[in-house]
């Protein structure tokens, strides 16, 4: 399934990103590009990654979050993840991202 604008939603100054079923290098490029467009154009403050449908994520997913974290903290915003399964949580822990972002179950 391809990434489209339907997977992105702006609620107040939060950007909600619905992550796909499998996050790898192939899919990550589109997600990063569209998310960056939103950050720059819609003047959003915080970003929320929704892992509800995600069953697989490799280090490319970490790359997406890290890249967006750098941009959003530049404007003083925060990064959240929601619906984080134990599996995704473990991946985030190994990379140390849990120290800089807010993980919600």
């Amino acid at each position: 399934m391809e990434i489209g604008f339907n997977d992105f939603k702006v609620i107040e100054n939060y950007l909600m990103v619905k992550m796909p079923e499998e996050i790898d290098h192939h899919k990550s490029q589109a997600i990063s590009r569209i998310a960056d467009d939103f950050i720059l154009q819609e003047r959003i403050g915080n970003i929320v990654f929704d892992f509800e449908d995600t069953v697989f994520m490799d280090s490319s997913g970490i790359g997406i979050i890290m890249g967006r974290y750098k941009k959003i903290t530049f404007f003083g915003g925060k990064v959240y993840t929601i619906n984080t399964s134990p599996r995704i949580k473990r991946t985030l822990m190994i990379s140390g991202l849990h120290k800089i972002i807010e993980i919600m179950e």
């Binding site: 499998e22 490319s60 190994i94």
Partner: protein
């Protein structure tokens, strides 16, 4: 009477052979795949290795671990092994040899199931790694502009039991990984 024992002997032999065949299937199994080094094949590669693993009755956790490690290694081959630098050199090389038709670069995977241990070998014939130690350092990436996290080798190390990287600049990189699969069932038996 005589023919009956012969028949029994024959059945006995067949059973032994069958048992040996089954034993062999379980103890040693091998596969090799080769595919174009494009990002869309990353999903194919990890799914193929995960399917190959199913006879060992792996847990979902183990399947996920192997999938992640394979995905990392193949992604490395696609974006680092065969990058622009490689293509620049490669084009010069093919022009020298007068080859008009350019074949697409490939990634190779060789898997061996040895008992309950999975050996995965993933290699490319790309540009190679000059400093392996630096490349394996967590958070180090040679392509920060492409949103890479630099966690590839760290993930392979974390999700597999053993990792070895062999590389020679100009000749490509080989990643060797090992993982014992079905450990959970073994623990249950022990108890």
């Amino acid at each position: 009477m005589n023919s009956k024992t012969e028949e029994q002997n024959f059945i006995q032999k067949m059973r032994e052979r069958e048992a040996y065949g089954k034993r062999n299937d379980k103890e040693h199994n091998e596969m090799q795949i080769e595919f174009d080094a494009v990002s869309i094949n990353e999903a194919f590669a990890r799914t193929a290795v995960a399917s190959f693993l199913t006879p060992l009755n792996p847990t979902l956790e183990e399947i996920s671990d192997v999938k992640t490690a394979v995905s990392e290694a193949v992604t490395n081959a696609v974006i680092h092994g065969y990058d622009e630098e490689y293509f620049k050199q490669y084009r010069i090389r093919t022009e020298d040899q007068g080859e008009e038709k350019q074949t697409k670069p490939k990634v190779y995977i060789h898997c061996v199931l040895d008992g309950d241990v999975l050996h995965v070998e993933i290699w490319d014939k790309g540009k190679g790694i000059a400093n392996i130690e630096l490349a394996m350092e967590p958070l180090y990436t040679s392509k920060p502009e492409q949103d890479r996290s630099g966690m590839g080798f760290a993930f392979m190390e974390a999700f597999m039991d053993d990792l070895e990287v062999i590389s020679e600049p100009g000749y490509g990189t080989t990643v060797l990984m090992k993982k014992k699969v079905g450990v959970s069932s073994w623990i249950e038996h022990e108890e």
